[in-house]
Amino acid sequence: MPLPLNYTLDQKVGEGTYAVVYLGKQTLTGRQIAVKQIKTGGFKDGLDMSALREVKYLQELRHENIIELVDVYATPENLNLVLEFLPYDLEMLIRDREVIFTPGDVKSWMLMFLRGLHHCHRNGILHRDLKPNNLLISPSGSLKIADFGLARSLGLPDERLTSNVVTRWYRAPELLFGSIHYTEAVDVWAAGIIFAELMLRTPYLPGADDADQLIVTFKALGTPTESNWPGVSNLPLYDSIEVFSQPSRQELRNRFLAATEAALDMMSQMVELDPSKRNDTTGLLLQKYFVEFPLPTEPELLPKRTKKET
């Protein structure tokens, strides 16, 4: 059976600049899948880089908390990625006002998220586009990291990376300052911002543009200076901006009313300004936050979306 017949496509669910997503079924097993059809041809340099990256990294990362690439096949017009079916993402849940999050739920999502991220990092892969939109939820409640279009494996020290990565609101300060030798810490920062967003039910640092992002970030978390981040002034886009002081623990408590001390400890380690002081996924998974009460909710019992898709 030629491969395209292994999958039946039922309905279109999304369209982007370079891909169209369909929902469908795997004919033999009846399993629900999503097919991302990436247009080929029409690009003067051949197949699009994001498509290549997605395929490349999803092939290697097999983990409970990372979206599964079931199959890949090519037709004359399209490259087709067959992915597991994941009905909605964390952003939808956060915005759905009728869904109530308990601390156990937040903890459960963070646990699954950090486990998936840990798997990426131990394989030497940076995701570079973490945001609630890219954290998908399976029908059984599992959280999965998706969209590896901007991912990259860590190579040799002298490689130069582009600092224009990660969606603005989740961009780490070293990226805002134009660093070209950053590390997995940029993913940890994004994870910290997502953690904050889960607790606040609203984006934590919504900058209007790149310049504004600096101000919003530093107002909330303090301005980096040579004293709290040695070497920061050497970064290419470093600019002396208004100095805001770092928030005290009490100020954080006032902002994050639902958070326990251990939760605030963990968050502070994730949004540490100086990337060399930021904790890594291993350290974060061993935090007290995950062992103290309330325990993380079982994935099957996590809240689900209430609104129907229009």
Partner: protein
């Protein structure tokens, strides 16, 4: 057409239990497991999840079988082409009757090896980093494990592989720059191969080369044998790198894992250091042999464990694992050394055909790809034979020259590729 499948792994009895647990673990992993997991995921298990292990690792028999199958397919395709010829001229009639001589399995291996080496030169020309260069070579070799040279001439495939590898390894070269540097190359000729290459690769783009493991061993030797002379190690590393480069043209990437190839290279260059290092690493007390004067021992040096937070459960699981995989230090050492030695041998079985050999095979390939050319050649030959016999030799040489996209372009490319 491609298919990505989680291949079942047939493991020897000693590690069957281990794999069973791993499979169970992978399928039933959940957030709050009410039963403790039965197995820890080791680094080797992580390697087994990689596409390189799943899709591109074979036994030598399997490798041989694939090449023979490819060759058979290629021969069939050639025969089909011959049959499809329209016998409009007597020469075409002749070709149709007697057929075109197909390429043998050995010749295929030779020509692919030749173009693999040329790919390396072209990559140097474009100043591509090692990773991209090695990946390009890997792509080329993998492509010709799925197809015969009688279906695709390796020359254009080579260029397309380099282009694709550069894209995949973040060393992007724009198509205009690429084709601009190589006259006779058009964007279409590069891009039209992109899809076939991706399909042959079964869309697995990430290649793990032995370079990083080699560097890792270089560092770890410093820790395990602290009194070893640093410049000796440094020189050893540099020389081993060259051997790893050479291994890219052999079959070792399909038969061994990157750390094993790295160790083999390092062992070739400095067997004393490697043997002592491995013995110390596995806790195996070897009998002292000569040549150790320059590698001083430090008996108090033991690999200290980095203690992380351990719950009772986790330590219990480790004990279980140890019971399953009980290998004495001596067994472990011998086991690795056997692999290292076999691998080292394999590296030197890499083919390195001469330009002459390659030219001959390349001509044959052209005829297989387009039997019409053979007819043309025969026609020209008859023409020159009809004239003075003495001239025939030089004219034949000339006729070869005049053939489009033939050995001329090859030679020119070779010249160009030698530019640093």
């Amino acid at each position: 057409m491609s298919k990505v499948v989680f291949e079942s792994e047939f493991l020897p009895i000693t590690t069957v239990l281990v794999s069973l647990f791993t499979r169970v673990f992978l399928e039933e992993m959940s957030v709050n497991d009410t039963k403790p997991t039965t197995k820890r995921v080791s680094n080797d298990d992580l390697y087994r999840r990689s596409s390189q292990y799943r899709v591109w690792s074979f036994t030598s028999e399997e490798l041989q079988r694939r090449r023979q199958d490819n060759n058979l397919n290629g021969t069939k395709v050639v025969k089909q082409r011959v049959d499809d010829l329209e016998a409009t001229t007597p020469e075409l009639q002749e070709v149709k009757e007697s057929g075109v001589e197909p390429i043998t399995v050995d010749e295929e291996a030779k020509i692919v090896a030749y173009y693999a080496r040329k790919a390396s030169d072209v990559a140097h020309f474009f100043k591509l980093p090692t990773q991209a260069r090695a990946t390009a070579i890997s792509f080329l070799k993998k492509f010709f494990l799925m197809h015969s040279v009688m279906e695709y001439h390796p020359l254009n495939v080579m260029y397309s592989c380099i282009f694709l590898a550069a894209k995949s390894e973040n060393s992007f070269i724009g198509i205009k720059t690429f084709t601009g540097a190589m006259p006779k190359l058009t964007p279409e000729s590069i891009l039209e191969n992109e899809y076939p290459i991706l399909e042959s690769l079964q869309f697995t783009l990430l290649c793990q080369h032995p370079f990083r493991p080699l560097y890792g061993f270089y560092l770890d030797v410093q820790a395990v044998l602290p009194k070893a002379d640093k410049s000796r190690l440094g020189q050893g590393y540099d020389r081993a790198r060259k051997i790893v480069n050479e291994s890219l043209f052999s079959d070792t990437c399909f038969l061994y894992t990157p750390p094993q190839i790295a160790l083999a290279a390092l062992w070739e260059v400095d067997s004393v250091v490697v043997e002592r290092y491995l013995a110390r690493k596995f806790g195996y007390k070897k009998k002292k042999d000569d040549g150790l004067a320059s590698v001083k021992e430090d008996p108090s040096e033991e690999p200290t464990d980095v203690k992380e937070e351990n719950t009772e459960e986790e330590t219990k699981l480790d004990v279980q694992e140890e019971e399953i995989k009980a290998k004495t230090p001596e067994q472990h050492y011998n086991f690795i050394m056997t692999i290292v030695k076999k691998c080292s041998q394999h590296i030197h079985e890499a083919l390195n055909p001469s330009l002459e050999e390659a030219k001959i095979i390349s001509t044959k390939v052209h005829f297989c790809l387009e039997p019409k050319k053979l007819a043309k050649k025969l026609a020209k030959q008859r023409l020159t034979d009809a004239k003075t016999p003495e001239v025939s030799v030089s004219l034949e040489a000339e006729s070869l020259k005049r053939e489009p996209d033939s050995d001329v372009s090859l030679r020119e490319d070779l010249k160009r590729a030698k530019i640093d």
